[in-house]
Structures are given as structure tokens and as C-alpha cells.
């Protein structure tokens, strides 16, 4: 279980900003999101989308603690 956050265009695409999602690894979270919303699943796997777990960027596969905050960050537009 993790708190998933979406930003920018991902939020508009999904129609939500923040949700609890089941999963104990990043791969499980991605699979769960993909199953519920294929367009979102594809978008969060897209080029330039970074992932932050508990506000730290991660690369590749990681495990997710029960209270983790997992953010999908589309390409940033700068300030």
C-alpha cells in the first residue's frame, strides 16, 4: 500500500491527484495502475517520467513500504 501522487499532465490524464494504491514494489504499483487505467499505466512508463519515493528520486525497481509516498513526475516545465 502506498500513497500515489500524480503531477502536471498525468493528473489531468488520470483525473485524480492522490490515491492509495496496493503494492509492495514499484512494479506492483505500476501493474495495479495499468490494470485500472491503461492510458495512465502507459503514461507513467513514458519517457521523461521520473519517480520519487518519499520525496527522493529512484531509478529502476524498488520496494515500497506500507506508508510510502510514491510520486510520478512528468517532464518538469521549470518555474
Amino acid at each position: 500500500m502506498a500513497r500515489v501522487l500524480l503531477f502536471g499532465p498525468l493528473r489531468d490524464l488520470a483525473g485524480w491527484r492522490e490515491r492509495e494504491v496496493e503494492g509492495s514494489t514499484l512494479a506492483e504499483l505500476r501493474a495495479r495502475l495499468q490494470a485500472e487505467d491503461a492510458a495512465l499505466g502507459e503514461a507513467i512508463a513514458g519517457p521523461g517520467v521520473q519517480v520519487a519515493v518519499d520525496q527522493a528520486l529512484v531509478r529502476g525497481e524498488v520496494s515500497i513500504s506500507a506508508s510510502a509516498e510514491v510520486a510520478f513526475l512528468p517532464p518538469m516545465s521549470g518555474g
Binding site: 501522487l5 503531477f7 520519487a52 520525496q55 518538469m76 521549470g78 518555474g79
Partner: protein, 151 residues
């Protein structure tokens, strides 16, 4: 001081406070970014940040500027949420002994903020809304500092 704010702010009020009671700071550079109306094409600009993460990233950029240019002090205030035409989006000020460092640090901070800071920007115009990405110019601007560092 590094911060995000949903409220409109006056860059002059920030500069007044920043420039007070300085004894050994000869130079203060500042930059204010304003939302352009684009002749009615942009009615509202909407900026989204990732609270906590965004400030931490900006703090890292600020730390780099502080060390690289030997700054005495700096301030970065960034607006988030909906911003009307003519309203300030970002204010950066840098204080140093001499003006070259203050100018360069301010320029450096803006280049990094414009291309590397975690913000997502949406323009609301007469034909609807669209998410925007950094301009090619923003990438070119930030690359200047990385080349300089290597050489």
C-alpha cells in the same frame, strides 16, 4: 530564504527587506519574472509544485549558487497556483561583495529554476488549457553554466 507561495507578492517589499542593514554587501542583484498576457492568449498561468520536494530541489540549486559565487545571502520566492497576467511568478535576489558575483549568481539561479526546478506549468487561454515544457532557449541557457564548469 526559499519559499513557495500561493498568494500574490510584491517583489519590491522583498527587495526592501533584503537590502536592509547590510554592512559589507556591496551588491544586490534581483530578478522578477512576471506572467505575460501574450496579447490575451494567456489569461491565467497555473503552476503546480510538489510541496517539500520542490523546495528541497530549489534549496540544492541555491546551495550551488551560494558556493560557486561566494554569496553572502540569497532569496528565492516562487508563486504556485493560478497567476494572472502581470503578476510576479518568481523573485530571486542575491547579495555579494562585488557586483559580478551577484549578477552571475542571479542569472545562474534563474536558468536552473527555469529548466531544472520541479514545476508543471499550464497556460489557460481563450482556446483552452495546455501544459508547457521548457523552451529550447531555457535548456541552452542552463548548459552555459555546465560548459563553464568543465572548462
Amino acid at each position: 530564504m526559499i519559499g513557495l507561495t500561493e498568494a500574490a507578492f510584491d517583489p519590491g517589499a522583498l527587495l526592501s527587506e533584503f537590502s536592509l542593514a547590510r554592512q559589507e554587501v556591496g551588491a544586490i542583484a534581483s530578478f522578477t519574472g512576471l506572467a505575460r498576457a501574450e496579447a490575451g492568449q494567456t489569461q491565467v498561468l497555473e503552476l503546480e509544485a510538489y510541496p517539500g520536494f520542490t523546495e528541497a530541489r530549489i534549496a540544492k540549486i541555491a546551495e550551488q549558487a551560494r558556493e560557486r559565487f561566494g554569496l553572502a545571502d540569497l532569496i528565492v520566492l516562487h508563486r504556485v497556483g493560478k497567476i494572472g497576467p502581470g503578476e510576479p511568478i518568481v523573485f530571486v535576489a542575491t547579495a555579494s561583495r562585488h557586483r559580478r558575483q551577484a549578477f552571475e549568481a542571479c542569472d545562474f539561479l534563474m536558468d536552473y529554476l527555469k529548466s531544472r526546478a520541479p514545476f508543471w506549468k499550464k497556460e489557460h487561454g481563450p482556446d483552452g488549457a495546455r501544459w508547457i515544457e521548457p523552451r529550447a532557449q531555457d535548456h541552452a541557457d542552463v548548459a552555459r553554466w555546465e560548459q563553464e564548469k568543465k572548462s
